[in-house]
């Protein structure tokens, strides 16, 4: 009957709800309470779905003039978004918006992070603004060039920001703000920090990763990617860094002395399409991956077992996120297709 109802699309067809929102999906996230999923779009809008009833109408909010550039779950509930209107916005679960910062109409708010401990980060140009859970500006951290990525460690105490020629490490609570500079020449375009705060890894313009072991400053170089790594994250155990940018999900081991001198594990490869997004499961050693042909799948790290979620053909995957309990997966594409799939035992 329907040609799209094939094996790869079965989970989306039988356990999913999807919408065609017709603008580039810039980000997807579930709020920390798990009650809603949100999609941020290139037309400035934010769309919120109820996880318990995603088939009901999604709430559409005109969040930003121009494009929404970044979306993360806020500290306790709701969402933070940044736009190319220079605004940092909090949206409560009911859709009410509160402007937390406005940094100038010609500035883009492109990189955000938040932690349940009550820390919010917004990078604008060379500055990382640190706000508390109440929206008060705690400090503004200056960098030598434009900040291209920000992250917080597992405790929400350490901040890392990537920029030209390396990354800077800061403490949220430091009385005197002096960064530890992790230097490596070149353009670093994104950053991740190990949940235990032991390693920092950046993605580079030249389609490779660079990393530092913080205890001794030892460098790591991870190369061989056919494309830029625009998405990466540590698995819940912290044992692996899952990365996009290759035809397979490339996982670097962060145990047994790795990743120095260790080969990565490559999973769910085989096709020519590149992995464009990865999202690590919050409870298990499972990674969801989205490809630039539109395929979405899950792969179990230890067994390498692959379960397809959505078939190719709806645009390159540009957003991917798990809910906090790991029962639902949300994804979005460059063409504006958004899906929420229920993967819980039924």
């Amino acid at each position: 009957m329907s040609t799209s109802l094939n094996e790869a699309d079965a989970l989306l067809q039988t356990r999913g709800v999807s919408r065609n929102l017709e603008a580039w999906v810039m980000g997807a996230a579930f709020c920390r309470t798990g009650g809603t999923a949100a999609f941020a779009l290139g037309d400035g809008s934010l769309h919120i779905a109820e996880v318990a009833a995603p088939e009901a109408e999604w709430q559409g909010i005109a969040a930003h003039e121009g494009s929404t550039r970044a979306l993360v779950a806020d500290c306790a509930d709701g969402y933070l978004t940044g736009g190319d209107d220079g605004r940092l916005l909090r949206t409560a679960p009911d859709g009410t918006g509160t402007e937390l910062g406005s940094y100038g109409a010609m500035k883009w708010v492109e990189n955000l992070a938040a932690h349940p401990a009550g820390v919010r980060l917004a990078a604008i140009g060379r500055a990382v603004h640190v706000l508390d859970g109440k929206g008060r500006l705690l400090k503004s951290l200056a960098h030598p060039s434009t900040v291209t990525g920000v992250a917080l460690d597992g405790k929400g105490k350490r901040i890392v920001a990537s920029h030209y020629n390396g990354a800077s490490l800061w403490y949220v609570a430091a009385k005197e703000d002096k960064p530890r500079l992790l230097e490596w020449k070149g353009s670093h375009i994104g950053v991740a920090i190990h949940p235990d705060g032991t390693h920092v890894v950046t993605a580079m313009q030249e389609a490779s990763l660079h990393g530092w072991r913080l205890e001794d400053g030892q460098h790591m170089r991870m190369s061989g990617y056919p494309g830029k790594t625009r998405s990466m994250g540590f698995t819940q155990s912290g044992r692996f860094l899952a990365t996009a940018g290759s035809e397979a999900v490339v996982l670097w081991p962060f145990f047994g002395g790795g990743p120095m001198g260790k080969a990565p594990t490559e999973l769910a490869g085989g096709d020519e399409a590149l992995v464009s997004r990865v999202a690590c499961h919050p409870k298990h050693e499972v990674v969801a991956a989205g490809f630039n042909d539109g395929l979405v799948l899950m792969v179990e790290v230890t067994s390498g077992k692959v379960v397809p979620v959505a078939a190719p053909g709806r645009g390159p995957i540009s957003a991917l996120a798990w809910n906090p309990s790991g029962t639902h997966l949300a994804f979005g594409t460059e063409w504006g297709f958004c899906g929420v799939v229920n993967l819980s035992r039924q």
């Binding site: 799209s4 699309d9 989306l12 067809q13 039988t14 356990r15 999913g16 709800v17 999807s18 919408r19 065609n20 603008a23 580039w24 810039m26 779009l41 290139g42 037309d43 400035g44 009833a53 995603p54 088939e55 121009g66 494009s67 550039r69 190319d84 100038g104 109409a105 010609m106 500035k107 883009w108 492109e110 140009g125 060379r126 060039s145 434009t146 291209t148 030209y164 020629n165 020449k185 070149g186 353009s187 580079m204 313009q205 030249e206 494309g227 830029k228 053909g313 709806r314 645009g315 460059e334 063409w335 297709f337 899906g339 229920n342």
Partner: protein, 334 residues
Amino acid sequence: MSQPVPPVSPAASHDRPPVPVTVLTGYLGAGKTTLLNRILTENHGKKFAVVINEFGELGVDNDLVVDADEEVFEMNNGCICCTVRGDLIRILSGLVQRRGQLDGIIVETTGLADPAPVAQTFFVDEDVKRATRLDAIVTVADAKNLLARLADSKEAAEQLAFADLIVLNKMDLVTPAEADAVEARIRTINPWAQLIRSEKSQVPLDQVIGRDAFNLARILEHEPEFLSGEDNHSHDEEIQSLSFETDKPIDPEKFNAWISDLLATKGQDLLRTKGILAYAGEDRRFAFQAVHMIADGDFITPWKPGEARKSKIVFIGRDLNRPRLRRGFEACAA
């Protein structure tokens, strides 16, 4: 919980043509921002995004203006002159994620900017290549002060050297003889750029936007306008241009070996190189261009029946050794 999956429109409907990018350079006070505002306020019904630098002289009148720090970095590809603008990679990739097709993007550089990193960004970055194409580098020069600027700054000559179009502005402030002298000086630096004389940056929009000057198919479309006689002897540090022509068919392997070696060893001094080549036994013309060490080449339209199959190459750069370059080029004959 599940719902029928809504259909998506076919892949082809999501293909957006690359957005043309016009780079606007020129020394401080030459009239760059005035030209930019003229382009933007002309009643053309087009939607432009403008990328300006944070030290802009004047306000820019447009809905979509992005403020950029001109952040240049060296690529880690072993090529020391391969510098690119990281801020442009980010902004150009970001602009195409917005809803609605842009008719063009205009990048205004600071007066002191070297145009090479801007141009190289379009050759090096995959995302930029997919989303946009470099339409032209437009340099605004001030007829009254250009000679003085050329004497006291190296950027003024670089901006002329890189230009596809030169707007010789402030013509109302010079005599016809002075204007001719300035134009003659410009031609020693850049013989192929089109030159438009203007007052108060008044130039028709279609002369500036949509020129498609970086298209290989249009390389050397305008015959370089050389002054009669040999080039005036110039100081080593001065930018000059040289061109060579041969009736003999070119051997592709010999040419590749020569040009690769030349760009690798001399690329820092070679600002722009363009060529149209007649390969032996090949009916199509081969077009070639390079910005410093980064080169691009492909076959374009066939030679016309009866057309003289002349191979031509033009160099703009510093410290160019005319006899050596000529020998090198002529040795590429099949």
